[in-house]
């Protein structure tokens, strides 16, 4: 065994004296005392769980009242196959769903669009019409299992489909819970499923928030993502700061329509990443919770405590996992889950050990699910609220991380605001330069990655992962199903509903009521996108290095 391993690098003899700086740029001392906490701002901004500034958690009892929701990212092929996987995960104790859509769906193309060729059902479930939602969620109790839709560019259509599907099954839209990702600004920075230019894209996010505030007040129409900005190269402080700038941009859009902040801010949620240094990550979340509460209370005049809550899914961690020695990702995932639980996340999900290779297998998803289940059920993570509070190190770093985030947010404002910086490609350029430096540091060994730049193994069998099959036949079946929907629907009704989508887009009205009617008439994702694109145009990516 040993002869296959390269010799490990010995730590430098003066390692203890070397400066340790975390990814956010904060120097870490070998020892923290009460004086460090005082010097960093003291214990004054911590408070109690469930009380402003919510650093210790948004609820007084946190997991003692209810453990985090477990919500693995799932979806592939067609709605029939995905429905089966959903039921498998629920049968194994998963408490929520997080739906992956294929790329054509995400960018508003129907499965028979020539541009969709070779991509239908590949990285997620294909959705063309309301019929697909009816199949995908068949037999799933939407009161017990909340559904999160990972959809952005085509979010108006898919939110409408979810609400329409719920109504059709007898659920009251006023009580229906669930979440849509629907954070388009971060799609321009990373992930890339934009459709329309920046300004109308923000307008559409505003439409969904305004519509849900009135028609589906328990539904969370937006989950603002630092996650993908971090994956694109941002450090942890930037991840939170950029996400808050983006969340503020959406809030400003809705406030400009005359809504009160407390009418909608309580349904804004967040999606953050969990890979990296355990203490930097936990303090990142504690600090950010206090900062968001402060922003909502002081800058936006929110009165309802719910408006000040940084509700979050803290999960994934894909950027920290490695292609090399994939089984080690199971262990990384366990540490990431620990971070998420120590940070007081409302919802957790883990990237699977095989996810750098393929769509996760049932086996890999079950391991991730069990990893999360261990924490509350065997390891005591649900016993007491915010267990790291009061540690000199944790409280100092929490104060320091908050200051870093405030600095980044002030810099964004100084440069003209997040919308301008994203439209110009400035944030994209900044994080991509950082990703390049990180790659160089990993290749040189300056940034340690176990199995990558130390303890490498050249053994082939250690890279064995079972690949998820892609079946052309599934595409054919999806296109057939789409054709059937088009043939069977009331053509005049669908046509009229689509015309109204275009008309409302032209007048600048909220397009959500028209989109609701259109999806109920079985108009497709692609048809609705085309109506909107006729008015809004399509985004052209700024190329900037």
């Amino acid at each position: 065994m040993n002869d296959r391993l390269k010799p490990a690098q010995k730590p430098a003899p003066n390692a203890g004296r070397r400066a340790v700086v975390n990814e956010s740029g904060i120097e870490i001392k070998p020892l923290y005392t009460a004086e460090d906490v005082e010097a960093s701002g003291g214990f004054g901004f911590i408070g109690k769980p469930g009380e402003f500034p919510f650093v210790r958690g948004i609820h007084p009892l946190m997991y003692r009242h209810r453990p985090f929701t477990m919500r693995q990212y799932t979806g592939f092929g067609n709605p029939v196959q995905t429905n089966q996987r959903f039921k498998y995960l629920i049968a194994n104790g998963q408490t929520g769903l997080n739906v992956a859509f294929d790329l054509p769906t995400q960018i508003g193309l129907d499965s028979d669009d020539p541009l969709a060729w070779g991509e239908v059902g590949r990285v997620g479930m294909a959705v063309d019409s309301l019929r697909d939602f009816e199949i995908a969620f068949d037999g799933i109790d939407l009161d017990k299992i909340t559904v999160s839709l990972t959809i952005n560019g085509a979010a108006p259509q898919l939110i409408a489909m979810f609400l329409a599907m719920g109504e059709k099954r007898g659920y009251d839209a006023k009580k229906l819970r669930g979440t849509a990702q629907n954070d388009i600004l971060k799609e321009f920075i990373g992930r890339g499923t934009w459709i329309y230019p920046v300004e109308p894209s923000i307008k559409l996010v505003g439409d969904t928030i305004e519509f849900c505030a009135k028609e589906a007040p328990k539904y969370s129409p937006v989950s603002v993502c630092g996650y993908h900005i971090r994956e694109s190269g941002a450090n942890p402080a930037q991840e939170m700061a950029y996400a808050f700038c983006i969340a503020k941009a959406y809030a400003d859009e809705v406030l400009a329509r005359g809504l009160d902040i407390d009418e909608f801010a309580g349904r804004l949620s967040f999606n953050f990443n969990i890979f990296g240094n355990i203490f930097e990550q936990v303090c990142k979340f504690r600090a950010a919770r206090g900062l968001w509460a402060k922003i909502m209370k002081e800058q936006y005049g929110a009165k309802d405590p719910g408006s000040m809550w940084m509700r979050m899914i803290a999960g994934g961690g894909g950027g920290g996992l490695t292609f090399e020695q994939p089984e080690v990702n199971i262990v990384r995932g366990a540490y990431y889950a620990l971070i998420s639980a120590l940070a007081g996340a409302q919802t957790m999900a883990l990237c699977c050990y095989d996810e750098a290779y393929t769509i996760p297998s049932e086996y890999a998803q079950r391991i991730s699910l069990r990893t999360m289940q261990l924490l509350p059920e065997e390891m005591g993570l649900a016993d007491t609220v915010d267990p790291l509070a009061g540690s000199y190190y944790v409280e100092t770093l929490t104060n320091d991380m908050r200051r870093k985030m405030e600095e980044v947010m002030a810099e964004v404002d100084r440069q003209g605001g997040i919308v301008k910086l994203v439209a110009e490609g400035a944030i994209q350029s900044q994080v991509s330069a950082q990703a390049y430096r990180m790659q160089q540091d990993i290749e040189s060994g300056a940034f340690p990655k176990v199995g990558v730049n130390r303890y490498r193994s050249e053994s082939e069998e250690e890279h064995e992962v079972k690949m998820h099959p892609y079946n052309e036949e599934d595409t054919r079946m999806q296109v057939e199903s789409l054709n059937r929907v088009r043939a069977e629907r009331d053509a005049a009704r669908a046509k009229a509903a689509l015309a109204r989508v275009g008309a409302d887009a032209r007048t600048g009205a909220n397009v959500m009521p028209a989109i609701m009617d259109a999806v109920k008439a079985y108009a497709t994702v692609g048809e609705i996108t085309q109506e909107l694109a006729k008015v809004y145009g399509r985004y052209r990516e700024p190329i900037r290095f």
Partner: protein, 132 residues
Amino acid sequence: MSAERRIRIVVAKPGLDGHDVGAKVVVRALMDAGFEVIYTGLRQPPEAVARIALEEDVDVIALSSMAGSHLPFCQRLKPLLEEAGLSDKLWIIGGNLPRQDHDALRTLGFKGVFPTGSKLGDIVGFIRENVT
């Protein structure tokens, strides 16, 4: 080619895949290595890749694919590159490329295959060695 002329490379994001972290990292590494790089941005159909490669008179056509559609895409790109008279250029591909597909990619004409975990220096070195 003449000694004065720098190697020109188009880096393209094929298909609908939005994962561009790796493509942009590679672009920066190629620029730092002294190559002239044209980055296409996201969502390039095969026709666009062939057209840009021809118009920009490149020596290297590089694709970055993370979302699994590399084989169907390259099967459609190959005849288009051939029709455009670009068979003698260096074709390379990187990204999430399962080992079981490497031979098929090489058979399609992609001389350099750089799966996840490849080093930037190896990509640069391969281009220097193979552009004549």
